[in-house]
Symmetry: C2
Subunit: 248 residues, 2 copies
DNA sequence: CGAGCAGTTGAACTTGGTCAATGCAGGTGG
DNA sequence: CCACCTGCATTGACCAAGTTCAACTGCTCG
């Protein structure tokens, strides 16, 4: 249980700033319940690029993401892909759904998971009563985030989509509840996902994402360090653009 | 409470075939609990076109839709609209969310609602224990539906979107669980929403929706009676098209 | 050093959007 | 009862955002 101990610490440490931005995933880990909860689970480690949930497969287990990040997506028969979300430390995966998983989950880097059989939910909720409220609350906030994604995919331009994405990626990095404004200094983000993943998340092609990154760079809104790190030079402008308040 | 009685009957009668396709709305009415639940609520009637939930307003109450249909949407500052869903009899509105509503709800025709203060949820769940499970289950299935909508808005063509919409509208009309196949005869649907609403639901313009209806008509996939009634002549073909299996 | 891959850039093309004219039905008032 | 008005739907012509296809860059890893 040594790894269990450090896992608890890691999860606890990050819990305050989890964003829970992904599909059917909830930051439901309660500080006090956490050690016992982690002790209940079987631990799984997944190497980069491996799928640990497969769309359409029978949904026996659900997972808590305990290290690394994952992308969640579905495919159409001809290969078109839609990334539903990116899962972070503390997110719950595979809870929502019927008897089969609604999406595939693939490790972005190496990933650590706690696995629980679906059938144990009731028992867990009984043992950790606060879990129930957190689950409800997070399912609810997940629905609100989904609505923002519907607006993004249905109505926003490529620029607005990428700006929304950057602002969203920034939110776990800034202080809780603080607004994004220019002048609060530049904000550097890691982007652990590929351009292809970003494109499939935003309903665009990789080329459009790349071009739009280029435009933002030319316009002095961002700088790029390699392909997996961005600095937001004008977060407030990007935030306004994301919301359609500002066109450029 | 005379109206209460008939309301219960109406809701009960339709409950079996509710589709619950809308945002943060759940078909959570339990046959046995229903009369007492309805008796708890204050009744509201809303004329066609009136908004009874406003995006961004403080979320004091939640509603059960007890008659008619409503559209749920959000707006961007410049007026772009995204319709998040259409609410039907038995759907719950305004449950998911923080302290403000995430969308505007507008009556499509005349609408009847049961209103409950948000603060009474705990009490209701205590009194009707099965409500809790239904709420969870429906929130979960709502998330699954949302993922289908992300795929639609992010990756599907105009033809696929409209086909998906028609198939979705058809689902409450066919027998539970029955697949859509050609040869099961034509299927006539009411479309209580305007072309504009359909367009804003599908992330298209009204013109594209109109043109695509025209194409489907020319191709012998549908016939149209007025603007608010369609007959699916080849539901199986439409279903395949909706899923990207077939292009035409 | 070279292969392979992700990302970037450019040019042609396509889909769906924009703008504008026309059609159609329901409602109102003469 | 009919002319007119209004609002929604349809259709057409043109346009633009974003996609497609292809070449090229730069990086990492044998």
């Amino acid at each position: 249980m040594e790894t269990g101990r450090s896992l608890v610490d890691a999860v606890r440490e990050r819990c305050g700033r989890c964003s829970g931005r992904s599909v059917s995933i909830c930051n439901v880990i309660d500080d006090e319940d956490l050690p016992a909860l982690v002790a209940e689970s079987s631990r799984v480690t997944v190497p980069a690029g491996r799928c640990f949930i497969r769309e359409g497969a029978p949904a026996h287990d659900f997972y808590v993401l305990a290290g690394g990040r994952a992308k969640l997506f579905s495919l159409m028969p001809d290969g078109r892909r839609q990334v539903m979300g990116f899962a972070e430390l503390g997110d719950f995966l595979g809870l929502a759904s019927s008897d089969t998983y609604a999406f595939t989950a693939e490790a972005l880097g190496d990933v650590t998971l706690c696995r629980f059989p679906h059938s144990s939910i009731d028992r867990l909720v009984e043992r950790f009563p606060r879990l129930r409220g957190r689950l409800q609350q997070e399912a609810s906030s997940e629905l609100v985030k989904m609505q923002a994604r519907l607006m993004l995919l249905g109505r926003k331009t490529a620029r607005e989509r990428l700006a929304s994405f950057l602002v969203e990626q920034a939110s776990p990095c800034r202080l809780h509840g603080q607004e994004l404004r220019d002048g609060h200094g530049p904000l550097t983000l890691p982007l652990p996902m590929s351009r292809t993943d970003i494109a499939d998340y935003l309903g665009l092609t990789i080329e459009t994402v790349s071009r739009t990154f280029g435009l933002f760079r030319k316009e002095g809104l961002i700088t790029v360090q390699g392909a997996s790190s961005v600095t937001l030079l004008a977060p407030g402008t990007l935030s306004d653009m994301a919301n359609g308040i500002r066109k450029d």
